[in-house]
């Protein structure tokens, strides 16, 4: 069964450093998402991406964040200058069509630790 994959599984970085989190969505899916989950808190939507552009973003997704689909398979989240409060589990998801009617399938997550 096709699945969303994410690398790395765990990333440790120093405050102020840039990190790139990588995702390979399910191959025939057209919509891509990033969510994050701070330890003990709810899952929060960050951004959605369709047709090579951001279609929606939350207030969390400020100028330090960016997303890219550099080739036909990868979907990346870049955090330019990490802060302590960026420490969280980051989940990538993809769906065949618009979320809601079409299920979002999630990757296993990348645990980001900012020291």
């Amino acid at each position: 069964e096709p699945e969303v994959t994410q690398t790395p599984s765990h990333q440790v970085t120093q405050m102020g450093q840039e990190v790139i989190l990588r995702c390979v969505p399910i191959s025939n899916h057209l919509y891509f998402y990033w969510y994050r989950q701070i330890l003990g808190q709810k899952v929060e939507f960050l951004v959605s991406f369709y047709n090579n552009e951001i279609s929606e973003k939350s207030e969390i997704f400020d100028d330090q964040f960016s997303v890219e689909r550099p080739d036909g398979s990868n979907f990346t989240l870049k955090i330019r200058s990490t802060k302590l409060e960026d420490s969280a589990m980051y989940f990538c998801a993809s769906s065949e069509g618009l979320a809601g009617r079409h299920t979002q399938y999630f990757g296993p997550g990348t645990r980001l630790t900012v020291l």
């Binding site: 709810k42 929060e44 939507f45 279609s55 989940f91 809601g100 009617r101």
Partner: protein, 115 residues
Amino acid sequence: AQSVAQPEDQVNVAEGNPLTVKCTYSVSGNPYLFWYVQYPNRGLQFLLKYITGDNLVKGSYGFEAEFNKSQTSFHLKKPSALVSDSALYFCAVGPNAGNNRKLIWGLGTSLAVNP
């Protein structure tokens, strides 16, 4: 504003007994409703969803959920719990309107099934 509530942080049930994990929602219009499960150190796995049609939805691993419009609830149920069902369960809602329909998440309920 759309919201999801999972009123119980933790649910404990004995193996073989029926289980219920509660979810209520607030959204304008008809909702799309989802349940996901998160096992330790794993991603979010889709269990089931309600889009339209029958109020009782059957999903993976013997789980089902009942959509109750008058009570704005979408409780997750299983007739006979297994120890392996022990995990974190998330209810999510996607509004049936708008362009992108990101998921809004509950805080999660930790289910412990005791042998």
